[in-house]
Point group: C2
Chain length 425, copies 2
């Protein structure tokens, strides 16, 4: 890995939003077709793009049962424990409606209500990502969302991956649409004869899914459009090079565009990590992908001291940061911008990716400067509550009217003044 | 006003996002120019579009002092009371970082941090909207945002409206950029020599501002793109027609595209409201605007009963709903989708627009199905905290590894397994 002295400006690259025009045109056409022809278009695209001629658009009970048969029990048990952990963490995020009252009769507050319906997109293809299902569905369930619909593209025989079906079944997701890509997003956003429209669509996907989500945003809400995954390891002398290297590789194996960075004041560590990465790459199944990611976006930054290293972390605002220092909690309050903070040498990123409880849907591409992990709040919404009594209005109507008139809104002023005329009807 | 029997599908119209291509091209050019030429471009556009040849790009102390001289003290007092109310309400929204621990050494949590810097856009032109400044700045201040920059277009003599300057000064906003439109948005998003870039831009504006905000989204965060304002009055027999009419007009006077709707099972009320609207329109300064809004988007819906009326409110998911019924609190829990809920006959919408405390930046265009008022949370972000001890990892590493391998990520599995080798370096 490259070892680079920290200079003034270190920042994660931003992906230019270019070269998508062709895909956008296709996506727009697919959305238009699904809005026009509904289920028929959904079937046609699933035949054309996924090679599956579907009888039923939804997963059957039989398919779920078969999925369980093909999974080993230890993995099912691990899924169950992960669900328990993730649910426990997200239940702590639940916020409640509240009110405040005054003696003059004023009542103000905030009513919190769940979304009526949410669509969860789950990528298909050869790999299966049950962890994605857990991370997207559980916060919606904790928020008490009324209806959760999952959508995932089937393989050529019209089936979904067993791990996907088992994860969904363990969570009690009843409706699983066998459709993917822009056609699934369109069906969830606008509805068809057999798919009821939802209010928000979450979940990762390829460019077609991402562009379709952007296109339907406004009609429905969406979660973030995730960029390539990122890790930054903040390390001091005490860090073990083999742990650092293993964690960098766990990020780099995701895809060629993944980012894995170390920031450390220790030149000795930097050199050992670089050598250790080479050693661990030797027998890694996805070594080619990981190597390309590290060559393109990987780096070990040498800082003057740990304080400068923390500054680098904050300017990178990474998705994941690991603090592999002898006193990791000392740096927690200094890390202002990060999706998830892993503290100490036993807190490998994998612990959070799959299992610990916090969400693995996190801001990428420097957006941790202003965004947050997926939370229960993302499936709730607030309504302000305002009650003025006759007394409260009488005390304040003059001020309210004068503020309205400064803005030139006479009818606003009169709406409070007319309330003085209690006798007239 | 039209009186219409409720049929199955009642919904607020959605604005098609069309006809903006020309403005978009101009906006894109302005953004590119400001990114290239910085302050110079900012000055050039302010000269060209606002007619002001500026010496200083920022508001001076002297201008602030002059603004106070031209405002009457009662209005300044009203602004001060509104600030106190709005601050009090938003302080109740503040959420705290939290942690949870387990005996095996696991620590999980959520760290909450404010955004580093926020830009608040304030429209210019002949009217001034000090209430907008209060509603956008106060939640950012309560969140402890490090730096708040206001931007507003100057008039031809290079000055801002006194009410704008007084509101900003009362809040202690130190930096006020004299620039508007896409050029101001570009300067806030990308920075210039004299404007430091921010992380989020909030505040209303015309199409240029809205399209510029959309264009810089991703580089920075933005608040919602607000549509025309909306009120729905849910009323029973007990409602006073003159109050209902006054509140409809206070919404309709905003602009020709504003929506003002009544839903009631009472035919008698419907007819009285319709007559009363005509009466009150007679001497309203902005009668022409209000009348056009009511003719185009206004309606009185007659429902079978109050339950059906509530259903209509939920399908409209309006920005504001007033409950003018004899037992207003009875309906609070039934209203699932609304930006702000005004309960009882003394709670005119104006009370909340200017003064009561809750934010007046609210979801429009049916988006209350999935969005919320502007809150302190919009200026905070969360980072997950994960700490596993050696014990916690040992207990769980097998499960974590098996979940990683189901997804085909061997390096993820090895990153936890390598931690077993405590002795090797």
């Amino acid at each position: 890995m490259k070892i680079i002295q920290v200079d003034e400006q270190v920042s994660l690259r931003r992906d230019p939003d270019s070269g998508n025009e062709k895909i956008q045109a296709i996506v727009d056409e697919i959305i238009a077709e699904v809005r026009k022809d509904g289920d028929e278009a959904l079937r046609a695209y699933t035949k054309k793009l996924d090679g599956a001629a579907l009888d039923a658009l939804f997963v059957s009970e039989k398919e779920r049962a078969q999925a369980y048969e093909s999974m080993d029990t230890r993995t099912v048990d691990a899924i169950r424990q992960a669900i328990a952990n993730i649910r426990d963490f997200h239940e702590r995020q639940r916020s409640e409606s509240w009110m405040t009252t005054k003696e003059n009769g004023t009542i103000l507050g905030q009513q919190i209500t769940p979304l009526d319906a949410v669509g969860v997109y789950v990528p298909g293809g050869k790999a299966a990502y049950p962890s994605t299902i857990l991370m997207d569905v559980i916060p919606a369930q904790v928020a008490n969302v009324g209806r959760i619909v999952m959508a995932s593209p089937p393989d050529e025989s019209g089936l979904l991956h067993p791990a996907v079906l088992v994860a969904a079944s363990e969570l009690g997701v009843e409706t699983i649409l066998k459709a993917g890509g822009a056609q699934a997003v369109a069906a969830l956003a606008y509805g068809t004869d057999s798919v009821q429209a939802v209010d928000k669509i979450v979940g990762p996907g390829n460019s077609f899914v991402a562009l379709a989500k952007r296109a339907v945003f406004g009609q429905v809400d969406i979660d973030m459009i995730a960029g390539p995954s990122e890790i930054v390891v903040l390390a001091d002398d005490s860090a073990r090079p083999d742990y650092v290297a293993a964690d960098l590789l766990s990020q780099a194996e995701h895809e060629e565009r993944a980012t894995a960075i170390v920031v450390t004041p220790s030149k000795a560590l930097a050199e050992k990590v670089s050598a250790e990465v080479e050693r661990q790459l030797e027998d890694l199944p996805r070594a080619a992908i990981a190597r390309e990611a590290l060559d393109t976006f990987g780096a070990i930054y040498l800082s003057a001291d740990l304080n400068e290293a923390v500054d680098v972390v904050n300017s990178l605002a990474p998705e994941h940061v690991e603090v592999l220092c002898s006193q990791p909690f000392q740096y927690l309050g200094k890390i202002r911008h990060a999706g998830a903070i892993f503290l100490g040498e036993n807190s490998a990123e994998s612990v959070g990716d799959y299992f610990a409880g916090p969400n693995h849907v996190l801001p990428t591409n420097g957006t941790a400067r202003f965004s947050s992990p997926l939370t229960v709040d993302d499936f709730l919404k607030k309504s302000s509550i305002i009650h003025y009594s006759e007394e409260a209005l009488a005390q304040n109507s003059e001020m309210i009217a004068s503020l309205a008139r400064v803005e030139g809104f006479e009818a606003h002023a009169r709406a409070v003044e007319i309330r003085k005329k209690k006798d007239v009807r």
